[in-house]
C-alpha cells in the first residue's frame, strides 16, 4: 500500500521546514516546497510533518483517497 502526497503551493509559506527535515521527500524551490514524488511508502514521520506544516499545505491520502494528514 502506498500513500499519495501533495503540497498546495499557493498556501505554502516557504518555511522550508519539510525539506529541511526530510530532503528525501520534499524539495524546496525558491519560495515553495514540493514533494519529490507523488507517492510514498507509509511513514508516520511524514504525517507528523504534514500536521505541523505552518500553512497546513501538505496533504496526504491513503489508497482509497481518504485524508490522513493534516489531522485536526
Amino acid at each position: 500500500m502506498t500513500w499519495s502526497i501533495s503540497v498546495d503551493t499557493t498556501t505554502c509559506l516557504g518555511s522550508g521546514i519539510c525539506a529541511g527535515s526530510r530532503p528525501d521527500i520534499f524539495q524546496f524551490h525558491g519560495s515553495y516546497a514540493e514533494p519529490i514524488t507523488d507517492h510514498l511508502e507509509p511513514d508516520e514521520d511524514v504525517l507528523d510533518l504534514a500536521d505541523t506544516c505552518p500553512a497546513a499545505a501538505i496533504l496526504i491520502r491513503d489508497e482509497s483517497g481518504a485524508e490522513l494528514a493534516p489531522r485536526p
Partner: protein, 398 residues
C-alpha cells in the same frame, strides 16, 4: 576562494542603538557575498550576507547545528546555551520538533487569538486610563508576551514577576556574572520542573499539558529534561523577541506617517504590514547559531570546507535588493514574501504563528488610540542580542 586568503572582519557590524543595518552588510552583499568574520568569542566563521546564500545555509541538511556543541562556537558572550531544540539536527530534531509543534499549529494558535486580543485591549485600556504620555515598552510591549506565554505554560499570575526576572537574566549579557547566570538558569529550570510535575498530576487546558500528553499513546514521549528545556526555550525564544519587535514596529510606523495612515484607513492590511515589518526590521544585533558544514559545500562563490561554521545574516538577507526590490522602503503590497525573519528550514521559528498573532493584535489594539505619536526619542538597549527601544515614549489624544 578559500578561508585562508580572506580578510577576517570584526563582528557584529551593527551598532546596538537604532535599527539601521551597518553599511558593511551592503558592501558584502554587492561584493563577495560570503565573508570571514570574528565574533567576540569562538572561532572565525563565514557570514552569508545574501538572501540566496543565507537561505541555502539555513535550509540545507549538510549544515549541522549539533556539531556546534563540539566546537568553539562563534558567539557574542562567553557562556553558551545548554543546547535544546536549536542545538539538534534531524532526525533527533524532527522527533522533538513534531512533538512540540503539535501544540503550536496555526489552528491551535488561532484559537488563542481572542484571548491575545483581550490582553492587548486590556493593556491599552489601562494605558489610556493612566493618561498620555506613556512608555510603550513598560506599559504594553513587555507585559503582553509575558502574559501570553505564562498563560500558555500555565504559570500562575502571582509568579509572573519571577518569570520576567529570570528571562531577563538569561538574555542580558550586561549584568550577570557567570555564577549568577548559572544560578538564574537553574532557578528557572527548577521552577519549570515543578510546573511540569504539577501538570502531570493535574492536567489543565494549556500548552504544558498538551506537551506532556503529546504522543501519550507512544513510547516516544518527551523526557522530563526535554520538557523542562523546551519550556525554558519557549520562554527565552518567545518573550524577548516579541517584546522587542512590538516597539520596533511601532517606531517604524510612527516615523513613517504615510504607512501609519495607510494602516489606520485599512486595518485589513495589518497581517501584510506585520510580514513587511518582520522583513524590514533587523532585530538581531548579531547573527547567531552557526551552522557547521558536515562536508565541503559550495555556497555562492565560496567552497565552505567540512567543519567550517557559517552564520546566516538574516537582517542583511532581508534587505537584499535582488530578492526585495526597494528593500529600504516599507511597503505593504509586496509580492515577494518568504523573508527570513523567522529563519528558514528545519529550525524555522516554532512560535512564528503565535508571534504573528501577538504582533497583529498588538498593532490592532494600539491603532485604536487616536493621533498616536512618539512623545520623545526612544532610548535603545545596548546589549548585543536583540535590538530595540528600552523605553519608547508615546502620546495620544484622549
Amino acid at each position: 576562494m578559500t578561508a585562508a586568503d580572506e580578510r577576517v572582519q570584526d563582528y557584529p557590524f551593527n551598532r546596538p542603538e537604532g535599527l539601521d543595518l551597518a553599511p558593511a552588510y551592503g558592501a558584502a552583499r554587492t561584493g563577495p557575498g560570503m565573508i570571514r568574520v570574528q565574533l567576540p568569542f569562538g572561532e572565525p566563521a563565514w557570514l552569508a550576507t545574501r538572501y540566496e546564500d543565507a537561505r541555502f545555509v539555513l535550509g540545507d541538511r549538510r549544515f549541522s547545528r549539533a556539531l556546534a556543541a563540539e566546537r568553539d562556537e562563534p558567539r557574542v558572550q562567553f557562556h553558551r546555551g545548554s543546547g535544546g531544540i536549536l542545538a539538534m539536527d534531524p532526525p533527533d530534531h524532527t522527533r522533538l520538533r513534531v512533538l512540540v509543534a503539535s501544540a503550536f499549529t496555526v489552528r491551535r494558535v488561532e484559537r488563542l487569538r481572542p484571548r491575545v486580543r483581550e490582553i492587548a485591549d486590556g493593556l491599552v485600556a489601562d494605558m489610556y486610563a493612566s493618561g498620555s504620555p506613556a512608555d510603550l515598552v513598560e506599559a504594553f510591549a513587555l507585559p503582553l508576551p509575558v502574559q501570553v506565554i505564562c498563560e500558555l505554560l500555565g504559570v500562575p499570575a502571582a509568579d509572573r514577576h519571577l518569570f520576567r526576572e529570570w528571562s531577563d537574566g538569561l538574555l542580558s549579557t550586561a549584568a550577570l556574572t557567570a555564577e549568577e547566570f548559572t544560578r538564574n538558569d537553574q532557578e528557572l529550570s527548577a521552577y519549570m520542573a515543578g510546573l511540569v510535575a504539577q501538570r502531570r498530576e493535574a492536567p489543565a487546558d494549556d500548552l504544558m499539558s498538551a506537551l506532556i500528553a503529546a504522543r501519550a499513546d507512544d513510547v516516544e514521549r518527551l523526557t522530563e529534561q526535554e520538557l523542562v528545556e523546551l519550556c525554558v526555550g519557549v520562554l527565552v525564544a518567545g518573550h524577548e523577541t516579541t517584546a522587542t519587535q512590538i516597539p520596533n514596529f511601532v517606531h517604524v510606523l510612527l516615523t513613517r506617517p504615510d504607512r501609519l495612515a495607510e494602516l489606520q484607513a485599512d486595518p485589513d492590511l495589518i497581517p501584510a504590514a506585520v510580514e513587511e515589518l518582520m522583513r524590514f526590521v533587523p532585530l538581531g544585533a548579531t547573527s547567531a547559531f552557526a551552522r557547521y558544514a558536515t562536508e565541503d559545500v559550495q555556497v555562492g562563490s565560496v567552497l565552505v570546507r567540512a567543519g567550517e561554521p557559517v552564520l546566516a545574516a538574516i537582517g542583511s538577507a532581508n534587505h537584499d535588493e535582488t530578492r526585495f526590490p526597494d528593500a529600504e522602503e516599507v511597503r505593504f503590497d509586496r509580492e515577494t514574501t518568504a523573508h527570513l525573519g523567522f529563519g528558514h528550514g528545519a529550525h524555522h521559528c516554532l512560535g512564528a504563528a503565535l508571534a504573528r498573532v501577538e504582533l497583529q493584535e498588538a498593532i490592532r489594539a494600539l491603532l485604536t488610540l487616536s493621533n498616536l505619536a512618539e512623545a520623545g526619542d526612544p532610548v535603545w538597549k545596548t546589549q548585543m542580542l536583540v535590538r530595540g527601544p528600552r523605553t519608547l515614549p508615546i502620546a495620544w489624544e484622549a
